[in-house]
């Protein structure tokens, strides 16, 4: 009986939790079942990013040129926001080279590219999540025989529910349309 009531309680709790969280939109990135490991070793499910806008791209740590440029551009986008807007935004960059990018490699990439602010999530995820995440973000990468990758430079902004609101591959200047969306979406106060 005791077990039964405990079980009943659990079921009720489960139901109320489910009822409190509005259903995830069908086109949310968080429909993917992916687990990230951050550079400090902490783990999170992709859908735990829900709740605030996210600026997201992908990289590989041994990348010499383009990936630092992507990271630099993400920082530049942040810098163009007000301090309050920045607090509403979660920047995330995920490795698509899980074979080589262990925690040490993630840490080095974060140091070298000034991504050590704790708001930043510099993470890796195992296959098959890498391929699925890249596919959902329309991020293309191809391993080259001599080592390294050819890859896209897409940076995406997600709303608080994980729905893609804008994408850009512009590296030379800040894409004005992208910045307009990023600014608007981070101006809305988020729940702490």
């Amino acid at each position: 009986m005791k077990y039964l009531s405990a079980l009943l309680l659990l079921i009720l709790m489960g139901t109320s939790i489910a009822a409190n969280a509005p259903a995830l939109p069908g086109d949310s990135l968080y429909q993917l079942q992916a687990r990230l490991t951050a550079r400090d070793g902490s783990r999170l499910r992709l859908d735990q990013l829900r709740g605030r806008p996210v600026l997201i791209s992908m990289f590989y740590a041994s990348c010499g040129g383009v990936c630092p440029a992507v990271a630099f551009n993400m920082r530049r986008m942040e810098a163009a926001l007000t301090a309050e807007q920045r607090q509403n935004l979660r920047p995330v960059i995920v490795s698509f080279d899980p074979v080589h990018d262990d925690r040490a490699a993630l840490g080095k990439f974060a140091r070298d590219n000034k991504l050590e602010d704790p708001r930043w999530i510099v993470a890796r995820t195992a296959e098959p999540s890498v391929r699925e995440l890249a596919a959902a973000l329309r991020f293309r990468y191809r391993e080259l025989p001599g080592g390294g990758f050819s890859h896209s430079t897409i940076i995406t902004v997600l709303d608080a529910d994980g729905v893609v609101r804008a994408r850009t591959s512009e590296l030379a200047v800040l894409d004005p349309e992208f910045m307009r969306v990023l600014s608007a979406i981070t101006s809305t106060k988020v729940q702490p």
Partner: protein, 254 residues
Amino acid sequence: MRTQLTALLVLVASVAAGAERVAIGPGKFESVLPPGPGITSMDVRRFLLDRKPVTNAQFLGFVRAHAQWRRDLAPQLLADSQYLAHWRGPLDLGPAAGSSQPVTHVSWFAAKAYCEAQGARLPNWYEWEYAAAASETSPDARRDPAWRQRILDWYARPSTAGLADVGGAPANYYGVSDLHGLVWEWVLDYNALLVSNDSREQGGADRAKFCGEGALSAKDRENYAVLMRIAFLSSLEANYTTANLGFRCAAEAK
């Protein structure tokens, strides 16, 4: 009991599916999409490939066992609004979707999930291209003008006619059917073939940056059928579905 029965049925189904898969390779071959500059020949490891594309009936079995892949339940992120649109209902093929016709209107995510549910995977591009280089009599018929022409003729046919049943055409050298002449097929690395710096550029093939510093092999540029396939696959996103795009599964050779 029910769980055990389901597990048994899944086992029986996967054994049956396993019998429908043939071993191919290992071998050396020249892809129209060389892995890198100056590399013309590459090794394909031994792998297993389905003899035929996955059918509507087979895919219906999968959807019945995995309700999250019903067309009314699959999220838009994983399958667009035309997913399984040719079926009469979420669990009902209806007259427009023959049970032995290749399943189409499936996204990459859905195709991938189907193969994983069989303990398999989607073939990668090089495996697919390697298997598809074979005619009925030769493992590599790509220099045979008559064979090339036959394949090109398929692309020239209007796609308004209904799809034939799978396995209707003669099997190739390896015992695999329908690699050409029936539907386009998803591959695992559909999005790694032509890497463009910008997804918006995918529409304009001339602006796409072809696989890093490499380029399509000039040597084999007359292999239009395969080049067309690469261009088509590269234009897709993972949740896209079309009336002529299906798939088959592959697996590691034991």
